[in-house]
């Protein structure tokens, strides 16, 4: 084989090998490290898996935030106004966490249907809504409209 061609072939093989390693790493890392988002309606309907890392989000229900007096434990309810999910979190909540505001929490659902959050994210300014929460609210709204339609 012509030396230049040979060199080019080996270069291509190198790139292929590099990409293969990367794909293998990526596939391995993806298997355990991606989290699916579940809106409250899906969780309440039992569509979300128990004991698996995932994210949940919606609006914090007014009047639902309860702080433990002796620790940093906080309980609150996340809602899309058609279903509610209780959430427990131990730690410091973000600055913009408040009742009636959108949040996204990551963690696991336990057997009792309580979402044990390891991280709670709130929106970062007053005019911004996390897209997941917005679409969860829209979906719940639509379902609500459908359910309500026959009554009218």
């Amino acid at each position: 084989m012509h030396p230049v061609r040979k060199q080019r072939l080996i270069v291509v093989l190198l790139i292929v090998a590099g990409s293969a390693i990367a794909v293998a790493l990526a596939a391995y890392a993806l298997r355990s490290n991606i989290n699916l988002f579940y809106p409250p309606s899906d969780i309440a309907a039992g569509k979300a898996p128990v004991g698996k890392n995932m994210r949940a989000g919606g609006m914090v229900l007014e009047g639902s935030v309860k702080r433990d007096p002796d620790s940093l434990r906080v309980d609150f309810i996340v809602t899309d106004y058609s279903a509610n999910v209780p959430v427990t979190y131990v730690g410091i909540l973000p600055d913009l966490f408040d009742e009636g505001q959108g949040v996204v929490a990551s963690g696991q659902l336990n057997e009792q249907g309580v979402f044990i959050a390891t991280e709670v994210l709130a929106k970062h300014d007053e005019n911004y809504m996390p897209p997941e929460v917005q679409s969860a609210l829209d979906a719940a709204q639509q379902n609500g409209d459908k359910a309500a339609a026959p009554l009218n």
Partner: protein, 662 residues
């Protein structure tokens, strides 16, 4: 009338951009020197008008002219002046104007510092930059006009800037980042000009190198500043989140790094010509992709302002035009150029090739992780998020591999080098770094950290290999000082780049391994023990700022009974925007460790939720970034980029020198 002047200046700039994109190119294609010569003046004219427009917008913000929608939404009379000024780019429309202004700044810099370039090359380069400018000016004027007015119901007070952005970090981080981002447009323009003229030789690589270096240096500083800002401003001590928007700036950086290295091979040895062009195209395309991701609102991120599909669509179309157009040109022209020289397996070319492959693969894994959630969502497969564990698992091994070759590359010679020579040079360095790496965790921690051992191994290897190389390069000199004086700035730039990378990696890995963090409930008088320090919470008191009220805690930090720091973290409630709450952390900074304290929320009985961090070596990563950036600037200032000018044209060189002094 002022806003209308600003708007009008922007429209005039668009007209000039249209001329700049077409006239010089027509000149270059038909050989008309008069038309080619218009490129420089048109670039200067465009710069003047965009500057005018930008100054007008700054003035509107400084005067708090709330008849301008943008000012009313993002500023406030109570805002301190410096933040009124930075509020100009603390929003979508203004940051876009900053972007276009920086593009015109780069264009005018190319026009000024290109005296040694053939005129048709200057014409082609500036014409390409004119085309990019058209795209962004149209984007600004059609979808995000910063000068839009509300002449009825002018509000008496503005809505205020997001408190997160009321910070010195925001004053400098976006401009730095943009200068870097947009700077890749110069490398891109050179590549397209070289492709279109059919002169894909070593000359274009030599012309692009200093520009690419400078752009890369700014991007490095911009990313480092962003990380530093997030660290002290977001209030929980994180410095890199693999947030899609961080990735958006990181991907052009990775490819820019690859580009710097492959430009070196192209210039010195005439290899990888078409590959280098492709990298230049990819680097700028990634800058545009980043703009799309940030500005379209498709992502959840601190950087996204309110979503607007129309804007996303515009950038997406622009992105397709740029990428599609340049790749078509590439497909047509690149096959005609062939590398004229050969190299052996063990040679510097080969190591630079490995560098390029690894960096490209690293970029692709980041790109995949960033786009995966978007793709899944678009296909209706569910709303996924890809978090730091994915990126760490994929990115860190690739970087470790890269470090191994980074140490060998500089010692290898161009064209051919022997394995025996390399072993003789580097064996000691390799052994010493492995030994020190293995011992290091024993000195520091109670539990042995393998990750820390590896980090020290690889970083020390990189530093020692540089030391070995400097010794080798100065071997024939009379003495060490004379030898060091003989080395070029480009060489020192390379050394600083590599050493900076090692220091940065050390900071990242060691702070990840050895940081201690605790969230506590603390009452006045409580003492918490952490990492050999005692944190005593003394209570909090009310404070009053220019546009906020809040509480300031006092935490005394003691070590062995001795007071070493009084930390005063704050919790602020800003008056505007329905009282947005902000955490201001307080940090006792040091080269070896940071002590970081933030207040969470008030609890019953004067108690507070308090977050305490001990972060060893955290400063090293930003310090490393600065060293890298300094190295890149030093390399760009190497004499030989100017010596060529003297050889070509004495008069041109004089004017270039006058400019670089002035």
């Amino acid at each position: 009338m002022l806003p209308e002047y600003g708007h009008f200046a922007l429209i005039l700039a668009l007209v000039l951009a249209l001329l700049q994109a077409s006239l010089p190119l027509i000149g270059a294609l038909t050989g008309n020197r008069a038309l080619m010569a218009t490129a420089r003046s048109l670039a200067a004219g465009q710069f003047v008008f965009i500057s005018l427009s930008f100054i007008v917008l700054c003035a509107l913000f400084m005067q708090s002219d709330f008849s301008v929608v943008l000012v009313a939404r993002h500023s406030n009379t109570l805002l301190p002046d410096i933040f009124k000024f930075s509020a100009v780019w603390g929003n979508h429309e203004g940051s876009l104007l900053l972007w276009v202004w920086i593009l015109s700044l780069w264009s005018v810099a190319v026009a000024l510092f290109s005296r040694q370039l053939p005129l048709d090359m200057v014409a082609r380069v500036l014409s390409v930059m004119g085309m990019i400018s058209i795209g962004f000016l149209l984007f600004s004027l059609l979808t995000s006009n910063p000068f839009a007015r509300q002449l009825f119901n002018v509000p008496a007070e503005g809505a205020d800037l997001n408190p997160l952005l009321q910070d010195f970090g925001l004053v400098i981080h976006p401009p730095m980042l943009y200068v870097g981002y947009v700077g890749f447009s110069v490398a891109f323009a050179f590549a397209i000009a070289a492709l279109s003229s059919g002169r894909l030789d070593t000359a274009w690589a030599r012309w692009s190198r200093p520009w690419t270096n400078i752009a890369w240096a700014f991007l490095t500083v911009g990313i480092a500043l962003g990380s530093w800002w997030a660290y002290y401003e977001l209030g929980w001590g994180g410095w890199w989140f693999w947030d899609p928007v961080e990735n958006a700036s990181f991907m052009p950086w990775i490819i820019g790094t690859a580009l710097i290295h492959s430009l070196a091979a192209t210039e010195k040895r005439g290899v990888f010509n078409s590959w280098t062009v492709l990298l230049a195209i990819i680097a700028f395309s990634l800058s545009l992709l980043g703009t799309f991701l940030v500005r379209s609102g498709v992502l959840t991120s601190v950087h996204s302002f309110a979503a607007d599909p129309e804007r996303g669509m515009f950038i997406l179309i622009f992105l397709f035009l740029v990428v599609g157009g340049s790749l078509t040109l590439y497909a047509l022209r690149a096959p005609t150029v062939a590398s004229r020289s050969h190299f052996a397996w063990l040679s510097r070319e080969f190591f630079l090739l490995i560098n390029n492959v690894l960096l490209l693969v690293a970029m692709l894994t980041v790109l995949f992780g960033t786009l995966f959630p978007l793709l899944m969502d678009a296909m209706g497969m569910g709303k996924y998020s890809v978090g730091p564990p994915y990126f760490n698992a994929v990115f860190v091994p690739i970087m470790a591999l890269l470090f191994v070759f980074m140490g060998i590359g500089p010692s290898a010679r161009w064209k051919k080098t022997s394995a025996l020579y390399l072993r003789g040079q580097l064996l000691t360095a390799a052994l010493v770094s492995v030994a020190c790496g293995l011992l290091f965790p024993l000195l520091l921690g109670e539990s042995y950290s393998v990750a820390a051992a590896l980090a020290v191994c690889f970083s020390l290897w990189l530093i020692l290999s540089m030391v070995v190389d400097i010794r080798e390069k100065t071997r024939n000199a009379v003495n060490l000082v004379a030898g060091l004086k003989r080395l070029t700035r480009a060489y020192y730039g390379m050394v600083l780049g590599h050493v900076g990378m090692a220091i940065c990696a050390l900071g990242v890995c060691l702070t990840s391994q050895y940081s201690v963090e605790r969230d506590l409930r603390m009452q006045p008088g409580d003492i918490a023990e952490m990492a050999g320090y005692q944190f005593e919470f003394k209570g909090s008191k009310k404070i009053q700022g220019p546009n906020y009220a809040g509480e300031r805690g006092l935490i005394n930090v003691l070590q062995n009974g001795e007071l070493i720091a009084e930390l005063k973290p704050e919790k602020r409630r800003y008056f505007a925007q329905q009282g947005q709450v902000m955490t201001e952390a307080d940090i006792d900074a040091g080269l070896m460790r940071d002590l970081y304290v933030a207040m969470g929320e008030p609890l019953a009985n004067d108690a507070w939720a308090v977050r305490l961090h001990y972060k060893p070596f955290v400063r090293w990563m930003w310090l490393g970034g600065l060293i890298m950036a300094f190295g890149a600037v030093l390399a760009a200032l190497d004499k030989r980029y100017r010596l060529k000018a003297t050889a070509n044209n004495k008069r041109a060189a004089d004017s270039a020198a006058a400019l670089s002094i002035g």
